[in-house]
């Protein structure tokens, strides 16, 4: 056995995931499907919002969803009420989705038949942030009941997102929610990120969010045509 020697490596730890995510993104692009992932802590309203989005957007567009949870098919059952194709990814003990799980879940779906594909990540503000899923738009949800300093406590998930949605706006007064403080904190860790506000329960802000998602898809299609 010879003497130990140092070798330079310079390799991304999540290289395999990044490569797979890149190939997924290319597949989404060529199929013309806009892929939107939702990340947030558990209980901030991802599934409730997604059920609404699938129902509304499904009237005009071909929509589908993948939904990740450690266990149970409950969310898939809830989302299926919208009439959209939904597939549950149960991760077992894994606290996040990765590109491989998306790739496998999509194996028997024709992406060309879809306009929007939503991916609801496991409820977790830490782990999903490291894993690129090939999505076109990552939306981070934060509810009015969670505390305005969430972005400062979990900067990476906000920093890797493309848009923020404040949920449960109908509860804002009851919990003395401070929108200005949350906005300041989001902009602090992710300068320039668009912030939308919704209440799924009373239907506020939903139309604006849907318009935003549709405009993102249009922009994506325009970029593809160039």
């Amino acid at each position: 056995m010879s003497e130990p020697r140092m070798v330079e490596v310079r390799r991304k730890i999540l290289k395999e995931n990044d490569l797979l995510a890149r190939s997924l993104r290319e597949r989404f692009r060529s199929a013309g499907v806009q892929v939107i992932s939702l990340v947030s802590s558990p209980g901030s309203g991802k599934t409730t919002l997604l059920e609404r989005l699938l129902t509304d957007l499904g009237r005009e567009y071909r929509v589908a969803a993948l939904v990740g949870d450690l266990a149970t098919e409950n969310d898939a059952a809830r989302l299926a009420r919208s009439g959209a194709p939904v597939k549950q990814i149960t991760t077992g003990t894994i606290c996040h989705l990765d590109a491989g799980m998306i790739d496998r879940a999509l194996s028997d779906w024709r992406l060309e038949d879809l306009d929007f594909l939503f991916i609801e990540n496991v409820g977790n503000l830490v782990c999903p942030s490291s894993f690129d899923l090939g999505e076109n738009l990552r939306v981070v949800l934060v509810s009015t009941t969670e505390g305005e300093d969430k972005p400062l406590k979990y900067p990476t998930i906000f920093n890797t997102a493309d848009a923020a949605v404040v949920t449960k706006l109908d509860l804002a007064d009851a919990v003395a929610f401070d929108l200005a403080a949350l906005t300041r904190n989001i902009q602090g860790v992710r300068p320039g990120m668009p912030i939308l506000q919704v209440s799924t329960r009373i239907g506020r802000g939903i139309a604006e969010l849907e318009l935003f998602l549709v405009s993102q898809r249009t922009a994506q299609a325009a970029a593809r045509a160039v």
Partner: protein
């Protein structure tokens, strides 16, 4: 705790590198981990100890270099540290960052190998 997934990816990557180098085992694996990478150092060290078992990396040390956040400041016109983690404002003038220059790294930088 996604550090076990990260640790398994480190082991996969390091084993591939061992093979490329024609080496039989590694004495150390050196990482660069950005403060904005979202990875907890202690959890990663613990996970690596489990992930490398029964592999040619079993006796290797995992050495983690923390990488501080640096931003491109539109006012100062260069790379600057930030004022207070995790807010992305310039330490010198307080301007909002144009972009992040470093601090998001999650990479294997080097390895000490034995042929």
């Amino acid at each position: 705790m996604h550090e076990l997934s990260i640790a398994l990816s480190i082991v996969d990557g390091a084993l591939e590198e061992l093979q490329r180098q024609g080496a039989t085992e590694a004495g150390a694996v050196y990482l660069r981990v950005g403060r904005l990478s979202g990875v907890d150092k202690d959890a990663l060290l613990f996970s690596y100890g489990i992930a490398c078992q029964d592999t040619p990396l079993a006796s290797s040390r995992l050495v983690i270099e923390d990488v501080d956040v640096m931003i491109l400041c539109p006012v100062c016109g260069g790379e600057r540290p930030t004022r207070a983690f995790p807010v992305l404002t310039c330490a010198d003038c307080g301007a909002v960052a144009d972009r992040i220059v470093c601090g998001q790294e999650l990479e294997i930088r080097a390895m000490e190998v034995v042929t």
